[in-house]
Protein backbone atom coordinates (compact mmCIF):
# COMPACT_ATOMS: atom_id res chain seq x y z
CA UNK A 1 0.00 0.00 0.00
CA UNK A 2 1.03 3.64 -0.36
CA UNK A 3 1.07 5.44 2.96
CA UNK A 4 1.48 9.13 3.62
CA UNK A 5 2.90 10.17 6.98
CA UNK A 6 2.04 13.72 8.07
CA UNK A 7 4.74 15.04 10.34
CA UNK A 8 6.77 18.00 11.46
CA UNK A 9 9.13 16.08 13.71
CA UNK A 10 10.21 12.48 13.49
CA UNK A 11 10.11 11.05 17.00
CA UNK A 12 11.04 7.51 17.94
CA UNK A 13 7.36 6.62 17.42
CA UNK A 14 7.48 7.72 13.79
CA UNK A 15 10.81 5.95 13.24
CA UNK A 16 9.31 2.71 14.52
CA UNK A 17 6.31 3.15 12.23
CA UNK A 18 8.41 4.07 9.18
CA UNK A 19 10.72 1.14 9.77
CA UNK A 20 7.82 -1.33 10.03
CA UNK A 21 6.16 0.03 6.88
CA UNK A 22 9.38 -0.11 4.85
CA UNK A 23 10.26 -3.58 6.14
CA UNK A 24 6.96 -4.75 4.62
CA UNK A 25 7.77 -2.99 1.33
CA UNK A 26 5.00 -0.45 1.60
CA UNK A 27 5.63 2.81 -0.22
CA UNK A 28 5.94 5.66 2.25
CA UNK A 29 5.59 9.35 1.45
CA UNK A 30 6.74 11.58 4.27
CA UNK A 31 4.82 14.84 4.20
CA UNK A 32 6.38 17.61 6.26
CA UNK A 33 3.34 19.83 6.83
CA UNK A 34 5.58 22.84 7.52
CA UNK A 35 6.71 22.84 3.91
CA UNK A 36 3.38 22.32 2.16
CA UNK A 37 0.46 24.56 1.27
CA UNK A 38 -3.14 23.48 1.42
CA UNK A 39 -5.66 24.93 -1.02
CA UNK A 40 -9.36 24.29 -1.16
CA UNK A 41 -9.04 21.86 -4.06
CA UNK A 42 -5.42 20.78 -4.06
CA UNK A 43 -2.16 20.80 -2.16
CA UNK A 44 1.53 21.09 -2.93
CA UNK A 45 1.99 17.79 -1.08
CA UNK A 46 2.37 14.69 -3.20
CA UNK A 47 -0.86 12.84 -2.44
CA UNK A 48 -1.38 11.08 -5.72
CA UNK A 49 -2.01 7.35 -5.33
CA UNK A 50 -1.94 7.46 -1.53
CA UNK A 51 -4.12 4.71 -0.08
CA UNK A 52 -4.10 6.22 3.36
CA UNK A 53 -2.52 9.08 5.32
CA UNK A 54 -1.46 8.76 8.94
CA UNK A 55 -1.47 12.00 10.91
CA UNK A 56 1.62 12.12 13.11
CA UNK A 57 1.78 15.91 13.43
CA UNK A 58 3.45 16.97 16.64
CA UNK A 59 1.57 20.27 16.76
CA UNK A 60 -2.14 19.89 17.52
CA UNK A 61 -3.07 22.98 15.49
CA UNK A 62 -1.43 21.52 12.38
CA UNK A 63 -2.98 18.13 13.01
CA UNK A 64 -6.47 19.63 13.21
CA UNK A 65 -6.21 21.56 9.95
CA UNK A 66 -4.11 19.12 7.93
CA UNK A 67 -6.51 16.24 8.60
CA UNK A 68 -9.42 18.43 7.50
CA UNK A 69 -7.71 19.25 4.22
CA UNK A 70 -6.67 15.68 3.47
CA UNK A 71 -10.16 14.41 4.18
CA UNK A 72 -11.51 17.12 1.88
CA UNK A 73 -9.17 15.92 -0.90
CA UNK A 74 -10.72 12.48 -0.51
CA UNK A 75 -7.64 10.86 1.01
CA UNK A 76 -8.51 8.56 3.93
CA UNK A 77 -6.90 9.94 7.09
CA UNK A 78 -5.95 8.22 10.33
CA UNK A 79 -7.34 9.64 12.49
CA UNK A 80 -10.39 11.30 10.98
CA UNK A 81 -10.61 15.08 11.47
CA UNK A 82 -13.77 14.63 13.55
CA UNK A 83 -11.87 12.37 15.95
CA UNK A 84 -8.95 14.80 16.09
CA UNK A 85 -11.34 17.65 16.85
CA UNK A 86 -12.84 15.86 19.85
CA UNK A 87 -9.59 14.45 21.20
CA UNK A 88 -7.54 17.64 20.82
CA UNK A 89 -9.77 19.56 23.20
CA UNK A 90 -10.18 18.33 26.77
CA UNK A 91 -13.63 19.89 27.15
CA UNK A 92 -14.94 18.20 23.99
CA UNK A 93 -13.21 15.00 25.07
CA UNK A 94 -14.94 15.04 28.48
CA UNK A 95 -18.31 15.79 26.90
CA UNK A 96 -17.97 12.93 24.40
CA UNK A 97 -17.12 10.49 27.19
CA UNK A 98 -19.95 11.72 29.42
CA UNK A 99 -22.44 11.63 26.54
CA UNK A 100 -21.54 7.98 26.01
CA UNK A 101 -22.12 7.24 29.72
CA UNK A 102 -18.46 6.41 30.22
CA UNK A 103 -17.20 7.12 33.74
CA UNK A 104 -15.01 10.20 33.54
CA UNK A 105 -13.84 12.66 36.21
CA UNK A 106 -16.33 15.35 37.21
CA UNK A 107 -15.50 18.45 35.20
CA UNK A 108 -16.68 22.02 34.83
CA UNK A 109 -15.72 24.71 32.34
CA UNK A 110 -15.91 28.39 33.27
CA UNK A 111 -15.09 31.48 31.24
CA UNK A 112 -14.13 34.00 33.91
CA UNK A 113 -11.77 33.79 36.86
CA UNK A 114 -14.69 34.46 39.25
CA UNK A 115 -16.76 31.61 37.85
CA UNK A 116 -13.70 29.34 37.78
CA UNK A 117 -13.02 30.12 41.42
CA UNK A 118 -16.60 29.14 42.24
CA UNK A 119 -16.05 25.82 40.45
CA UNK A 120 -12.82 25.23 42.33
CA UNK A 121 -14.38 26.04 45.70
CA UNK A 122 -17.27 23.72 44.93
CA UNK A 123 -14.95 20.85 43.98
CA UNK A 124 -12.92 21.51 47.12
CA UNK A 125 -9.20 21.06 47.57
CA UNK A 126 -7.28 19.55 45.97
CA UNK A 127 -8.75 19.87 42.50
CA UNK A 128 -7.19 20.17 39.08
CA UNK A 129 -7.00 22.95 36.52
CA UNK A 130 -5.97 21.94 33.00
CA UNK A 131 -5.47 23.78 29.72
CA UNK A 132 -8.14 22.67 27.22
CA UNK A 133 -5.41 22.08 24.64
CA UNK A 134 -2.15 20.68 25.87
CA UNK A 135 -0.14 17.57 26.34
CA UNK A 136 2.66 15.82 28.22
CA UNK A 137 1.28 17.12 31.52
CA UNK A 138 2.28 20.71 30.79
CA UNK A 139 0.49 23.60 32.51
CA UNK A 140 -1.52 21.22 34.66
CA UNK A 141 -2.17 22.54 38.15
CA UNK A 142 -3.15 20.60 41.24
CA UNK A 143 -4.75 23.27 43.39
CA UNK A 144 -4.38 22.79 47.13
CA UNK A 145 -5.75 26.07 48.48
CA UNK A 146 -7.79 29.15 47.64
CA UNK A 147 -4.63 31.25 47.60
CA UNK A 148 -3.10 28.97 44.98
CA UNK A 149 -6.34 29.00 42.98
CA UNK A 150 -6.47 32.80 42.87
CA UNK A 151 -2.83 33.04 41.79
CA UNK A 152 -3.08 30.40 39.08
CA UNK A 153 -6.30 31.83 37.68
CA UNK A 154 -4.76 35.30 37.53
CA UNK A 155 -1.73 33.93 35.72
CA UNK A 156 -3.89 32.06 33.23
CA UNK A 157 -6.08 35.10 32.61
CA UNK A 158 -3.02 37.16 31.67
CA UNK A 159 -1.17 34.53 29.63
CA UNK A 160 -2.58 35.94 26.43
CA UNK A 161 -4.02 33.12 24.40
CA UNK A 162 -7.79 32.98 24.55
CA UNK A 163 -7.74 29.24 25.25
CA UNK A 164 -6.26 29.97 28.68
CA UNK A 165 -9.44 31.86 29.51
CA UNK A 166 -11.43 28.67 29.08
CA UNK A 167 -10.97 27.32 32.61
CA UNK A 168 -11.24 23.55 32.70
CA UNK A 169 -11.67 22.49 36.32
CA UNK A 170 -11.74 18.86 37.32
CA UNK A 171 -12.09 16.79 40.43
CA UNK A 172 -8.82 15.38 41.75
CA UNK A 173 -8.88 11.61 41.37
CA UNK A 174 -6.87 9.95 44.12
CA UNK A 175 -5.28 7.35 41.88
CA UNK A 176 -2.91 4.72 43.29
CA UNK A 177 0.27 6.44 42.06
CA UNK A 178 -0.33 5.26 38.53
CA UNK A 179 -2.62 5.57 35.58
CA UNK A 180 -3.21 3.28 32.63
CA UNK A 181 -2.55 3.91 28.95
CA UNK A 182 -4.19 1.63 26.42
CA UNK A 183 -3.29 1.92 22.74
CA UNK A 184 -6.20 0.64 20.71
CA UNK A 185 -7.28 0.44 17.09
CA UNK A 186 -10.99 0.95 16.59
CA UNK A 187 -11.54 0.02 20.22
CA UNK A 188 -9.47 -3.15 20.14
CA UNK A 189 -6.47 -2.90 22.48
CA UNK A 190 -3.01 -3.51 21.05
CA UNK A 191 -1.39 -3.32 24.48
CA UNK A 192 -1.62 -1.48 27.78
CA UNK A 193 0.75 -0.18 30.42
CA UNK A 194 0.66 1.50 33.78
CA UNK A 195 2.59 4.72 34.29
CA UNK A 196 3.77 5.05 37.86
CA UNK A 197 5.27 8.05 39.62
CA UNK A 198 5.58 9.60 43.07
CA UNK A 199 4.41 12.83 41.42
CA UNK A 200 0.68 13.38 40.94
CA UNK A 201 1.36 13.59 37.20
CA UNK A 202 2.25 10.13 35.97
CA UNK A 203 2.65 10.81 32.22
CA UNK A 204 5.52 8.97 30.53
CA UNK A 205 6.64 12.41 29.29
CA UNK A 206 6.95 13.47 32.94
CA UNK A 207 9.09 10.45 33.75
CA UNK A 208 6.36 8.03 34.84
CA UNK A 209 7.70 4.47 34.98
CA UNK A 210 6.01 2.24 32.40
CA UNK A 211 5.02 -1.35 33.06
CA UNK A 212 2.88 -3.81 31.16
CA UNK A 213 -0.77 -4.01 32.31
CA UNK A 214 -3.26 -6.82 31.76
CA UNK A 215 -6.62 -5.39 30.75
CA UNK A 216 -9.67 -6.86 32.48
CA UNK A 217 -13.15 -7.06 31.00
CA UNK A 218 -14.29 -3.78 32.58
CA UNK A 219 -11.37 -1.84 31.11
CA UNK A 220 -11.83 -3.63 27.80
CA UNK A 221 -15.43 -2.47 27.63
CA UNK A 222 -14.49 1.10 28.55
CA UNK A 223 -11.74 1.21 25.91
CA UNK A 224 -14.13 -0.01 23.25
CA UNK A 225 -16.81 2.51 24.21
CA UNK A 226 -14.37 5.41 24.63
CA UNK A 227 -12.96 4.74 21.19
CA UNK A 228 -16.43 4.68 19.69
CA UNK A 229 -17.36 7.88 21.55
CA UNK A 230 -14.65 9.86 19.73
CA UNK A 231 -15.11 8.22 16.33
CA UNK A 232 -12.61 5.35 16.52
CA UNK A 233 -9.16 5.02 14.96
CA UNK A 234 -5.67 4.66 16.37
CA UNK A 235 -6.03 6.03 19.88
CA UNK A 236 -4.40 6.26 23.28
CA UNK A 237 -7.03 5.83 25.97
CA UNK A 238 -6.08 6.90 29.49
CA UNK A 239 -7.77 5.45 32.54
CA UNK A 240 -7.34 5.84 36.28
CA UNK A 241 -8.18 3.22 38.86
CA UNK A 242 -10.80 4.36 41.34
CA UNK A 243 -10.62 2.84 44.81
CA UNK A 244 -7.05 1.63 44.68
CA UNK A 245 -4.78 -0.45 42.48
CA UNK A 246 -6.42 -3.50 40.90
CA UNK A 247 -9.85 -2.39 42.19
CA UNK A 248 -11.30 -3.19 38.79
CA UNK A 249 -13.09 0.17 38.77
CA UNK A 250 -11.98 2.87 36.38
CA UNK A 251 -12.57 6.37 35.18
CA UNK A 252 -11.52 7.41 31.68
CA UNK A 253 -9.91 10.83 31.75
CA UNK A 254 -8.68 11.26 28.22
CA UNK A 255 -8.47 9.88 24.69
CA UNK A 256 -5.46 10.92 22.57
CA UNK A 257 -5.57 11.02 18.79
CA UNK A 258 -1.89 11.26 17.82
CA UNK A 259 -0.84 8.69 20.35
CA UNK A 260 2.81 8.15 21.22
CA UNK A 261 3.66 4.50 21.72
CA UNK A 262 7.42 4.23 22.16
CA UNK A 263 7.16 3.87 25.96
CA UNK A 264 4.45 1.23 25.54
CA UNK A 265 6.51 -0.63 22.95
CA UNK A 266 9.43 -0.79 25.39
CA UNK A 267 7.21 -1.92 28.29
CA UNK A 268 5.27 -4.77 26.68
CA UNK A 269 6.03 -7.93 24.70
CA UNK A 270 3.71 -6.88 21.88
CA UNK A 271 5.27 -5.34 18.78
CA UNK A 272 3.17 -2.17 18.80
CA UNK A 273 4.23 -0.65 15.43
CA UNK A 274 3.69 -4.05 13.79
CA UNK A 275 0.17 -4.21 15.21
CA UNK A 276 -0.52 -0.67 13.98
CA UNK A 277 0.66 -1.54 10.48
CA UNK A 278 -1.41 -4.76 10.54
CA UNK A 279 -4.43 -2.61 11.26
CA UNK A 280 -3.57 -0.08 8.53
CA UNK A 281 -3.22 -2.91 6.02
CA UNK A 282 -6.62 -4.25 7.03
CA UNK A 283 -8.21 -0.79 6.72
CA UNK A 284 -6.83 -0.34 3.21
CA UNK A 285 -7.74 -3.89 2.16
CA UNK A 286 -11.30 -3.41 3.45
CA UNK A 287 -11.59 -0.10 1.63
CA UNK A 288 -10.43 -1.74 -1.60
CA UNK A 289 -12.96 -4.54 -1.11
CA UNK A 290 -15.69 -1.97 -0.40
CA UNK A 291 -14.68 -0.09 -3.52
CA UNK A 292 -15.09 -3.29 -5.52
CA UNK A 293 -18.53 -3.78 -4.00
CA UNK A 294 -19.36 -0.15 -4.71
CA UNK A 295 -18.58 -0.61 -8.37
CA UNK A 296 -20.92 -3.56 -8.41
CA UNK A 297 -23.71 -2.03 -6.29
CA UNK A 298 -23.24 1.75 -6.46
CA UNK A 299 -22.83 2.13 -2.64
CA UNK A 300 -20.10 4.60 -1.52
CA UNK A 301 -17.04 3.15 0.25
CA UNK A 302 -15.13 4.72 3.17
CA UNK A 303 -11.91 3.77 4.95
Amino acid sequence: MQVGILYSRIRKDEKLLLSELRDRDHEVTKIDVRKERFGLDSTTADIENLDIVVDRCLATSRSLYATQFFASYGVPVINAPETADVCADKAKNSLALADADIPTPETEVAFTTDAALESIEEFGYPCVLKPVVGSWGRLMAKIDSRNAAEAILEHKATLGHYEHKVFYVQEFVDKPGRDIRVVAVDGEPIAAMTRTSDHWLTNAAKGGHAESFDIDDTALDLVERASEAVGGGLLGIDLMEVGGADSGEYTVHEVNHTVEFKALNDAVDVDVPAAVVDWLETRVANAEADEGNEQRTGVTATV
Binding site: R9, W136, T258
Partner: protein, 56 residues
Protein backbone atom coordinates in the same frame (compact mmCIF):
# COMPACT_ATOMS: atom_id res chain seq x y z
CA UNK B 1 28.55 6.01 11.25
CA UNK B 2 28.73 9.41 9.45
CA UNK B 3 29.16 12.84 10.92
CA UNK B 4 27.81 16.35 10.40
CA UNK B 5 28.72 19.72 11.84
CA UNK B 6 26.73 21.18 14.72
CA UNK B 7 25.44 24.59 13.63
CA UNK B 8 25.58 25.79 17.23
CA UNK B 9 29.15 24.95 18.30
CA UNK B 10 30.82 23.59 15.17
CA UNK B 11 31.65 20.21 16.70
CA UNK B 12 31.27 16.99 14.71
CA UNK B 13 28.03 15.16 15.55
CA UNK B 14 27.90 11.37 15.13
CA UNK B 15 24.96 10.21 13.04
CA UNK B 16 23.33 6.80 12.87
CA UNK B 17 22.75 5.00 9.58
CA UNK B 18 18.96 5.04 9.84
CA UNK B 19 18.82 8.81 10.09
CA UNK B 20 15.48 10.37 9.04
CA UNK B 21 14.74 13.85 7.74
CA UNK B 22 12.76 15.55 10.50
CA UNK B 23 14.47 13.68 13.31
CA UNK B 24 15.94 15.57 16.25
CA UNK B 25 19.37 14.72 17.58
CA UNK B 26 21.43 16.21 20.38
CA UNK B 27 24.90 17.60 19.89
CA UNK B 28 27.14 15.63 22.26
CA UNK B 29 29.40 18.65 22.72
CA UNK B 30 27.09 21.61 23.39
CA UNK B 31 23.77 19.80 23.97
CA UNK B 32 21.92 21.75 21.28
CA UNK B 33 18.86 20.09 19.77
CA UNK B 34 19.42 19.74 16.04
CA UNK B 35 16.95 18.89 13.31
CA UNK B 36 18.00 16.68 10.42
CA UNK B 37 17.32 18.72 7.28
CA UNK B 38 18.85 16.29 4.78
CA UNK B 39 20.41 12.86 4.96
CA UNK B 40 22.60 12.68 1.87
CA UNK B 41 24.74 14.45 2.63
CA UNK B 42 23.61 14.99 6.20
CA UNK B 43 22.66 18.56 7.07
CA UNK B 44 21.65 19.76 10.52
CA UNK B 45 19.93 22.93 11.67
CA UNK B 46 18.76 24.26 15.03
CA UNK B 47 15.56 22.49 16.06
CA UNK B 48 12.43 24.60 16.61
CA UNK B 49 11.65 25.59 20.17
CA UNK B 50 8.93 23.64 21.98
CA UNK B 51 5.46 25.01 21.17
CA UNK B 52 2.50 25.01 23.50
CA UNK B 53 0.32 22.75 21.35
CA UNK B 54 2.92 20.02 20.85
CA UNK B 55 2.11 16.58 22.10
CA UNK B 56 -0.18 13.68 21.50
Amino acid sequence: MTQAECVECGADVDLYDDLEVGEIIDCGTCGAELEVIDVSPPVLDRAPELEEDWGE
